[in-house]
Symmetry: C2
Subunit: 226 residues, 2 copies
């Protein structure tokens, strides 16, 4: 009803305070800064708790730009998720399991995974959020389906060499080995807050973290040895 009237109201008092922030005029930087801010916001609050205004503020920009570059909140979340997966998959590529002795290779993979989880808590949070929603966005993503690396194949090769040498049991499954490593790391870190509260041991303590790394290596190796 009074739409036309309110429409008329002035929008911008040009030259009020001058440029508070030197207008960046740098699309790549703005986009990256929104993505980084969104990663934090989604990781801290989940998809339901994340606030679009908060993301814009954290990025030092405003909502318009966010919608400009990413469409809407859900597409922004998908971009965050894709970037997170790209991060771990490309880090994995720097692991050269084929150059190592079988036992050493499994130990390296376990320590690498542990360190990656430790250094990227936001990745763990995003995984948790995505699973809460039954992988709704991950399943949509065509980009990520292409990304599925030959990671398990490389691990299978390593394990086969161990089997041939008589070091490992012949019935072990590469995916199970990887799931074991990931499970031990993921659970310890992602559930550390409830566990610390309930069991009264500070899992974030440096010594405990180092001990758990050794524990993962020990558990993984002892479960696959003949």
């Amino acid at each position: 009803m009074d739409k036309a009237q309110s429409r008329v109201r002035g929008r911008r008092r040009s030259g009020e305070g001058g440029a508070e922030r030197p207008a960046q005029r740098d699309p790549e930087r703005t986009r990256a800064s929104i993505l980084a801010a969104a990663t934090k916001e989604f990781a801290e609050n989940g998809i339901g708790g994340a606030r679009v205004d908060a993301i814009a503020e954290r990025a030092g920009t405003n909502k318009r730009m966010l919608y400009h570059y990413f469409g809407d909140k859900e597409q922004l979340y998908l971009a965050v998720l894709e970037e997170a997966y790209i991060g771990i998959r490309s880090a994995e590529r720097s692991l050269h399991l084929s150059d190592l002795e079988p036992e050493q290779g499994v130990a390296e993979l376990a320590m690498f995974t542990w360190k990656y989880f430790l250094d990227h808590p936001e990745f763990l949070s995003l995984l948790g959020t995505e699973n809460l929603h039954r992988a709704r966005w991950l399943r949509q993503s065509t980009r990520l389906k292409e990304l599925h690396s030959n990671f398990i194949d490389k691990l299978a090769g390593l394990l086969d060499r161990g089997k041939a040498k008589g070091l490992f049991r012949t019935d072990i499954d590469p995916l199970n080995v990887y799931l074991t490593i990931a499970a031990l790391g993921y659970f310890y870190l992602s559930n550390q807050h409830t566990l610390t509260t309930i069991f009264g041991r500070d899992l974030a303590d440096k010594a405990n973290i180092e001990a758990w790394k050794q524990h993962i290596v020990h558990v993984t190796l002892s479960s696959i040895r003949r």
Copy 2:
């Protein structure tokens, strides 16, 4: 401005359609039904994504009752979390580890934990939500701090018997053993959607679920044996 006016507007047209739902008049049932509905809603959507209106509707009641019995959304969430923990702790009490041979006892604990996780997906979701918020509500809860059972003590007793018999290594830590069992179960189930999507193996498949149970028992036992 027109507040007074709108205030005057009639509220209830008594005797319009008659009783659509036979008014329960059963406080306990109403409370329980709200709690059950809230458990589902929080487990499916997290705390940020859960909707108070949705909880009321699922419970077959209305928001007023929810606020009547639980105060506000956060207190309702806390009640849900407390009930979930009470559930697993009391189920744990039915386990009589002290009657079993050490190896059999560890296997029973592993299988019990797996089955509990499998049967209570909402418990896993709530744990995830609570950890996302750094155990903010769990830490507040005085009820749950009293609840912390002698569970680890019972497990320690079992392991000590195994050590005395020369079956288990003497340096194993009861908490680590429990964390190992919980980690393997939790990760497989709570992350099944992303894992299934990424690795192309249906983790929800019955045979795979049974195989993972055996895997947990095997991994746990092989990591503690001398």
